[in-house]
């Protein structure tokens, strides 16, 4: 006997009560539990819905759903980073490598032209710090509005806000003291090229994560999940 809509909804509530907040993860678990319950009922038609559910949940072991959620989060973070890495590598192939080299050269020329490394670096760092800050703020607002409108939270949206874990690495604040300290030293051309390369590659990674991979992943998920609509 197939489960009713009310029972399916009960399964969603059950997963939520067992710390699965994300609708995209709940969906798969609900279908799994439902299949198991239906199979049990086929063998034993007298078994109650609650007893069958209890037996199915037990199969997930003492950790319950937490292992599934944890591993799914890790897997999605990895997927995000692999997408970023894929696009990043494409900047080292023709014709994009020309653009990358041109940007590095432009930044280097700017430092030489203004003859004031401190201000050039400071302005760059502020820009590289503000952009992810605005991104996180706007994404957080977007996630909240989706939750308010539909009552659903999506794991991949939470992954996007964290840039697949890259947010910790793409925080220029970590490097700022080292970068600004450079101003006190007399720097060789090689050192200036190294600084230019770092700033440009950092900006490139940030650009790819925010403006290429994020919309790309959101589109992938919208295509995959019929309940998700891009607002």
């Amino acid at each position: 006997m197939k489960l009713s809509n009310t029972q399916t909804q009960e399964l969603y509530t059950f997963t939520q009560k067992h710390y699965v907040d994300w609708y995209d993860v709940q969906t798969e678990l609900v279908d799994h539990l439902a299949n198991g319950i239906e199979a049990q009922r086929a063998i034993n038609p007298n078994i109650s819905f609650q007893d069958a559910l209890k037996a199915e949940f037990k199969k997930f072991g003492i950790m319950g759903f937490s292992n599934v959620v944890e591993e799914k989060t890790k897997a999605l973070n990895k997927h995000y980073r692999l997408l970023v890495w894929g696009y990043f590598k494409s900047f080292f192939k023709l014709p994009r490598i020309i653009l990358t080299l041109f940007l590095i050269w432009s930044y280097y020329s700017m430092m030489v032209f203004f003859n004031n490394i401190f201000w050039v670096l400071l302005i760059s760092c502020i820009v590289l710090m503000i952009v992810p800050f605005i991104f996180i703020y706007r994404q957080g607002k977007y996630v909240k509005s989706i939750k308010k409108k539909t009552g659903k939270k999506w794991l991949f949206n939470s992954i996007i806000v964290q840039l697949g874990g890259l947010i910790h690495f793409l925080n220029i604040g970590i490097y700022i003291s080292v970068i600004l300290d450079l101003e006190r030293r007399v720097l060789s051309t090689t050192a200036l090229v190294a600084i230019s390369s770092f700033i440009i590659l950092f900006g490139l990674l940030l650009y790819i994560s925010i403006f290429v991979v994020t919309p790309n992943l959101r589109q992938q998920m919208a295509k995959q999940h019929p309940d998700y609509k891009i607002a």
């Binding site: 197939k2 489960l3 809509n5 399916t8 969906t27 798969e28 609900v30 279908d31 799994h32 439902a34 299949n35 198991g36 199979a39 199969k59 997930f60 072991g61 950790m63 292992n67 599934v68 591993e71 799914k72 890790k74 897997a75 999605l76 990895k78 997927h79 692999l82 995959q224 999940h225 019929p226 309940d227």
Partner: protein, 110 residues
């Protein structure tokens, strides 16, 4: 997987092989198929199956399709082009492993 630690390292190969033969499958179906094929000898636990599926998906070896079945949503997995290539590699690896173990355990048969 509940019955033996020896099977743990092969879960990805089992999933890939099943998907190679069945075009698309969902999680519960995979657990039941393994149970049926091995006559209950091998039991893939839910706690091991989903992390493995999600990892393979993240690595780009599996593609996902969600469809409405029996009034609820079902997540189907299928092999990507890379997944098909990886299946062949994994099966080859497993065959080599079995051959090597055979040599060690039963040198007369090798």
């Amino acid at each position: 997987m509940s019955n033996s630690k020896l099977y743990k390292g092969s879960i990805n190969t089992i999933i890939l092989k099943l998907l190679n033969e069945h075009n698309k499958m969902y999680g519960y179906e995979i657990t039941q198929k393994v149970k049926d094929l091995t006559k209950g000898e091998l039991n893939i636990t839910e706690g091991a199956l989903y992390p493995a599926l999600h990892k393979l998906e993240a690595e780009g070896l599996l593609d996902v399709e969600i469809a409405k079945v029996d009034n609820r949503l079902r997540k189907y997995y299928k092999l990507t082009e890379n997944g098909t290539k990886e299946t062949a590699n994994k099966l080859e690896e497993l065959a080599d492993y079995i051959k090597t173990m055979q040599t060690l355990i039963n040198p007369k048969l090798a």
